[in-house]
Chain length 429, copies 2
């Protein structure tokens, strides 16, 4: 069936090149489209008898266990581990394989990593947190003491400020969705509102910032405005229901919702209240962007409104023409995602995607769209709009605004090209 025939024949098409109305994702599904609208999708007719009895039904299976593992058939689902950075073992990053996941929760075992000198092996019985500096009462907390404090839980994303940097290259790099964009993950974080601990220490009137220091070998340090600390900052103790993983700061980390990841200091050992930013090594040698004017952007904390289609995406192979689910994630450091639009014709026409519940502030939001691929060339794009009305920019617009020297906070629209040979790849145009 030629592309134009398909476009004209299908009353459910809502944008060019085969995008179908999102009502298929609402309520009971196909019934709302009418029985014939989706037609036979990918199933094949069967004889009316059960499938053969497989070997795994012929003997009792594996027993119960104290701590479960995933299937051996999923062993290939791994983080992408980058080369060591900065000359020391344990410095560098790994990325979440976004194209192999669905939903909004990232399994903790696959959460992206960014370490400055490896993962410390901290004994929670010995670890302490100090709050000092411009306070009325310097305080020190054991982990046992912290576990008695009032806590809150929130599902929120964490994104490295350097995420998606490969797309700053002059030529579109080959790579999977996770290789290019996998330094974003989302978890349920549980911890103590930092404001509770600061009030207990007594914030001195001249205090405006704080210094947060990690207990890794790099003693990673960042400066945090006091307003953020008193707003929604957490001292996080749990991730996805269980104790933090060592890679995420065990036994406790700072968590600053919506802000660039490195400032949510892991393995937190010290908070010092100050009158201004401390201008630490980690915030002057890194995490600044040189502008065309010669000035540098510094303390660019919130992550911009962003989305990416995780499937189909770079390196995946289509199974020929027919119906597919287009699925992806959207997020914004400014709050919740209001809308995601998808294009299958390189941006000439757009249609609104279905958002899976829950849609939460500063969390990943899963969007989905049904797509009937006619087998011809297509360019898939997604564009997020957040609750403030901010719209995810194109790559050209982002570079025109920020220049070619930027290295952080890349949040432009991603284009995936679907070719007639079933291959999907990263393209800029």
């Amino acid at each position: 069936m030629a592309k134009n025939d398909l476009n004209q024949a299908d009353p459910e098409q809502v944008a060019g090149n085969g995008l179908l109305h999102r009502r298929v994702f609402l309520g009971g599904g196909a019934a709302l489209l009418g029985a014939g609208a989706l037609g036979l999708m990918t199933a094949r007719p069967a004889v009316a008898a059960p499938p053969d009895i497989a070997d795994w039904m012929r003997a009792p299976g594996a027993p119960l266990s104290g701590h479960g593992q995933r299937s051996r058939f999923e062993d290939s689902v791994q983080r992408y581990v980058g080369p060591p950075a900065g000359g020391t073992t344990g410095a560098g990053s790994s990325r979440t394989p976004l194209e192999k996941l669905s939903g909004i929760i990232t399994p903790s075992s696959l959460h992206f990593e960014r370490h400055h000198s490896g993962i410390p092996d901290i004994d929670p019985g010995q670890h302490q947190l100090l709050i000092h500096g411009l306070v009325e009462r310097p305080l020190i907390f054991s982990m046992e003491a912290l576990h008695r404090y009032p806590m809150v839980s929130r599902i929120q994303f964490l994104e490295c400020s350097g995420n998606s940097r490969p797309n700053l290259s002059a030529q579109a790099p080959a790579g999977s969705c996770g290789e290019i964009h996998g330094m974003v993950s989302c978890s349920e974080w549980t911890g103590i509102p930092l404001g509770v601990l600061l009030e207990e220490a007594g914030v001195a009137p001249q205090s405006r910032w704080l210094l947060a220091e990690g207990a890794d070998a790099a003693a990673m340090t960042r400066s945090v405005p006091l307003d953020k600390a008193m707003d929604d900052a957490l001292i996080a103790l749990y991730q996805n229901g269980e104790a933090l993983r060592p890679e995420q700061g065990y036994p406790l980390r700072l968590f600053l919702p919506g802000w660039e990841g490195n400032i949510s200091v892991k393995w937190l050992r010290r908070i010092k209240l100050t009158s201004g930013p401390t201008m630490t090594r980690d915030e002057t040698s890194k995490y600044t962007d040189l502008l065309p004017s010669g000035k540098s952007l510094m303390f660019t904390f919130p992550m911009g409104v962003k989305s990416v289609i995780t499937s189909p995406s770079g390196g995946l192979t289509m199974q020929g023409p027919g119906l597919y689910e287009i699925s992806g994630i959207a997020w914004s450091g400014a709050g919740s995602v209001r809308r995601v639009e998808v294009s299958a014709d390189g941006g000439r026409s757009w249609a609104e995607a279905a958002l899976s519940e829950p849609v939460l502030s500063k969390a990943l939001t899963r969007f989905r769209m049904a797509w009937r691929w006619d087998g011809g060339p297509a360019v898939l794009m997604s564009r997020a709009i957040d609750e403030t009305g901010a719209v995810q920019p194109t790559r050209d617009a982002l570079l025109a605004e920020k220049g070619s020297q930027v290295s952080y906070h890349y949040h432009a629209i991603q284009n995936w090209q679907v070719a007639e040979n079933n291959e999907v790849s990263n393209v800029y145009v």
Copy 2:
């Protein structure tokens, strides 16, 4: 300080025996209580210098990895594995250690298990799903085909119909919260609305039920009303972002939100549409309750409104008088939790707990309350009310209604006794 003094002195107390207003959990925390209201909680004064440099800061830590693990200091957090049931290995249950978790997501490695003949080791490249019976077109689906269908994601609980059964004993059993109540867990489930697949097969007019069959060695089977299948049933492929775990039905399971766990048939291989229930072995020999009248309750699908305090709870040890967080989970098979009330004086007075966002339909909801324990005897209780107005019953009321022969759907209020010797234990009165 005597109990009565505490009651009278504290303007934040909202119910007897030290329960404090939930506003401490809202917004920035202690600031809203006024700086002095919580007072010094559990921290100790510190000299204004950083803690000693620990060994783990003196050398680079562990490197990046493809698939992460938890801390070795958390190895003791394990499911409670019950004895084999029914004479075969792999039949029985394990329970989530609720008292060691927080938030609403259960880590997949700690999700409770209930198997009827162990965990099959299924190759997704060979596994197929058949839909047949009273349909227009019998269909068979490969896993590759299913992955192209429209999906939805939802955070929802799963509870075994036999959960909390230890509390049916005449004497209150010793045990932890997880040992008694740990056959409930909560995940983000992603899958295809079952209605989409049934519409594709074409539901015959006389079809009212379906039979769901698993590919384990027990070929576990249950009958499901068609209305539920067309409402919110999923063919689940992902759990907490990644492919289902084998213990939860890899590569696919039926998921029926809010209903007793065993009917969400794991390792799903076959759905047969029928005009009535099939009355299978698994739904006649089990999962029915004998009433005082001599009749049996059958097909009691939705789980009742329920809550339990996870901390402090049975087997945990208090650290002496002072401020604590009371934390727990609430849920209902009928929808979302509207309110949770907590008592610290054995039910004489109650106060409303704070609910952590998100509060979702048929999901666990985390509730919390601040409590200043005076060191005297206390009995902690929680009582959930759901969106339909249903109120969690006392044990006495539940047994008066259902009699002493019931074995399933126990959802009564749990009482934890806090003794002056710092021990916490299960009591009925």
